[in-house]
């Protein structure tokens, strides 16, 4: 815990850094694969989104919050959270406009079976969900991990401030 608290100096050994870079690349790649092939193989938007979030969390654990904030500032994570949810909402309601007035109609052509571009809106939904899940989990985890609260403290001892800036 000590190491995590005073992050940027102690977590930064060369080995950890190098390994994290590689592992992180694989995690992100794996997450993207799980998302993109969610309609053909096991997995999907939620699992993929959580895996992508794990990639970011690994970055945070290894390099500290500053580094993560450089890649994905919390304000942007919060915005991406909303945008992911909105994208899913748009896909759902698009059926009313383009799918003969039916909510949640899969209005795109289904395409060839078992290809990447098939199954209509399902892959798009997966992408939207992944974006949403990834952003929201990073948000929650960072918010929780920056907490170092003094017991019984006042408001001023409370550290995080994501929302109001």
């Amino acid at each position: 815990m000590k190491k995590l608290a005073t992050e940027e100096r102690e977590g930064m050994s060369l080995i950890v850094g190098t390994v994290t870079h590689w592992v992180c690349a694989f995690i992100v790649l794996f997450g993207l694969y799980i998302v993109a092939y969610g309609h053909l193989t096991p997995g999907g938007g939620f699992a993929g989104g959580v895996i992508l979030a794990c990639g970011f969390i690994l970055l945070m654990l290894a390099f500290g919050r500053k580094r993560l904030a450089a890649i994905l500032p919390l304000s942007r994570a919060s915005a991406l959270d909303c945008i992911g949810a909105l994208a899913f909402w748009v896909l759902a309601t698009a059926g009313i406009l383009f799918g003969g007035g039916v909510f949640f109609r899969n209005f795109l052509p289904l395409g060839k079976r078992l290809r990447l571009w098939s199954a209509g809106i399902i892959p798009l939904c997966n992408v939207a969900i992944a974006l949403k899940v990834c952003a929201s989990l990073v948000l929650v985890l960072v918010a929780l991990s920056v907490l170092r609260v003094k017991a019984g403290g006042t408001d001023e001892d409370f550290i995080t401030d994501i929302e109001e800036k």
């Binding site: 909105l86 899969n106 289904l110």
Partner: protein, 526 residues
């Protein structure tokens, strides 16, 4: 365009967009929230004008005699009534919120959670699918857990945590119940379940499936789980422990929403829908179940009423009185007669209006004086005429004084009890009504009448918007008395009551095969 999915989609959109609103344009956020809630009222009225129907999401309706493949939304008398109440009370509360919430930070997220809660309630009310019911119940519940703790003070956090723990137990019980029904019947669609349970003989176990006329233990267990789970959400008396802390702790607009709408939409309505439509409480002779529900109602009525008497905290008193009044609703519904259900729903509608009004009154007093203790107030009528007058209307309505709406609905409930031969229950209802009158007279006397205390000499009336929202609700208290007359009563209450008692029509509506589907699979495949 069909208003059904929009009733859920519009508040969801507001919930997703509002956190993105520009930070420095608070007025814009307020305005957007107001427009959204006005749109909800318009949609609810549009839904009211529609004939009863089933809406198959994604076009996955029943094919050739089978069950619906996807999730079904059902619009019938009861859901129309609920959607209308939700929209109207939401509009009044949103009208009240901009001024009241100005003292809190995080207003955009407040509105976001608020509309997510409304979306959850609308989803619960409209759904025709048990698992979907669970999901939307969770949306509404989680938003309310967060909103109860919105102020982040000691008491609020503690109340919210207890609410969250008990609410989650309730949710998992409901989920387990859904799982058990699925295990037996292989479906989660309410209409499909309903027809299968009816074929199996229902709770009485008269059908061929259960052996030798014995009641199905599995169905009994599932029913118990639903009563416990949804009873917890509705805060019926053995399960009420969370409510007296949670409802007063929330910011006032949320207290009004929780007491006025949430416990009814995700508690009472969902319980009624499950018991009548799915389990078949009205069709099958199930005196035990009806008695159990009525006893729960009586316990809530008496328990909530007696606990309310001693309260000095205005909002806490209102919270206890909510338990008591929900008891009336449950009593009426537990009678399972057409008159009883109609009376219960009438009281539900009335309670939504006057309880949210009274909470808004309590908030208005707190807004200007900074206290919720009744013994510190006094003579506020002289300084806050609008608040005083509307709270008088609200108190008299809830106490059951004619010509306000509460009188008529309580009268109907008592009449229904008498008609069903339940004289003891009827007399208890009368006694509790007198108790209610007693503690609301106390509220009026201590807070609004009498001599104005010196420290309140400089108190002013609340801002116009807040006053307008209270006046709107007070007028509705008078207007809904009109439901006593035959025409409106048949249109609203009779229609709503029939949607619970006429189970077969519900099943037929949902299971009717959809006309030739535009998107037949073969056409679209290569």
């Amino acid at each position: 365009m069909d208003p059904l999915p929009l009733l859920v989609a519009v508040p969801l959109l507001a919930g997703f967009v509002l956190p993105l609103a520009p930070k420095h344009r608070i007025r814009l956020t307020d305005f957007f929230a107001l427009v959204t809630s006005a749109a909800l009222v318009a949609l609810a009225i549009a839904a009211l004008r529609q004939p009863d129907c089933a809406y198959h999401v994604g076009g996955w309706g029943p094919r050739a005699g089978g069950p619906p493949l996807g999730i079904t939304l059902v619009l019938d008398g009861a859901s129309k009534l609920m959607v209308l109440i939700i929209a109207v009370v939401t509009f009044a509360v949103i009208l009240y919120s901009p001024s009241y919430m100005a003292r809190f930070t995080g207003k955009r997220k407040f509105y976001s959670l608020f509309f997510l809660m409304v979306a959850g309630m609308n989803g619960v009310v409209l759904t025709g699918d048990m698992f979907n019911l669970f999901v939307f119940l969770e949306i509404a519940s989680i938003a309310s857990y967060a909103l109860v703790a919105f102020g982040c003070e000691k008491q609020e956090l503690e109340a919210s945590f207890r609410y969250l723990v008990l609410g989650s137990i309730a949710s998992y019980m409901i989920l387990l119940g859904v799982g058990l029904l699925y295990a037996k019947m292989g479906t989660v669609n309410m209409a499909h379940l309903s027809s299968k349970i009816a074929a199996a003989g229902g709770l009485a176990g008269a059908g061929p499936v259960t052996e030798a006329g014995k009641a199905s233990a599995l169905l009994i267990f599932a029913t118990t789980l639903f009563i416990c789970g949804l009873g917890l959400k509705a805060a019926l008396v053995p399960f009420h422990a969370w409510l007296p802390d949670a409802h007063p702790s929330a910011p006032t607009p949320i207290s009004a929403m929780l007491s006025g709408l949430l416990i009814k939409a995700i508690g009472v309505y969902a319980l009624t829908r499950v018991l009548f439509t799915v389990i078949g409480m009205s069709d099958v002779g199930t005196p035990t179940l009806c008695n159990l529900i009525m006893v729960l109602g009586i316990l809530s009525m008496v328990g909530g009423g007696f606990l309310a008497i001693g309260q000095q905290d205005f909002k806490r008193l209102l919270a206890y009185s909510s338990i008591s009044q929900v008891g009336y609703v449950i009593l009426g519904i537990g009678l399972a007669t057409p008159l009883g259900i109609a009376a219960g729903l009438f009281h539900l509608l009335n309670h939504a209006i006057f309880k949210s009004l009274l909470f808004l009154n309590a908030g208005a007093v707190e807004y200007r004086t900074g206290t919720r203790r009744l013994d510190e107030m006094g003579g506020l009528n002289k300084r806050m005429p609008a608040t005083g007058a509307t709270s008088f209307v609200g108190s008299m309505s809830i106490a059951g004084v004619p010509p306000f709406n509460g009188f008529f609905s309580k009268l109907l409930i008592i009449l229904a009890c008498v008609a069903a031969g339940r004289y003891v229950f009827a007399s208890i209802a009368v006694v509790v009504s007198v108790i209610t009158l007693g503690y609301f007279l106390k509220v009026q006397k201590q807070a609004f009448f009498g001599a104005l205390k010196d420290k309140w000499q400089h108190v002013r009336e609340v801002p116009t918007m807040m006053a307008a929202s209270m006046i709107l609700l007070a007028l509705l208290c008078l207007a809904t008395s009109a439901l006593m007359f035959k025409g409106p009563r048949d249109f609203f209450l009779g229609h709503a009551q029939r949607s619970f008692t006429q189970r077969q029509r519900y099943v037929d509506r949902v299971m009717r095969p959809t006309t030739a589907d535009a998107r037949e699979s073969t056409e679209r495949m290569d």
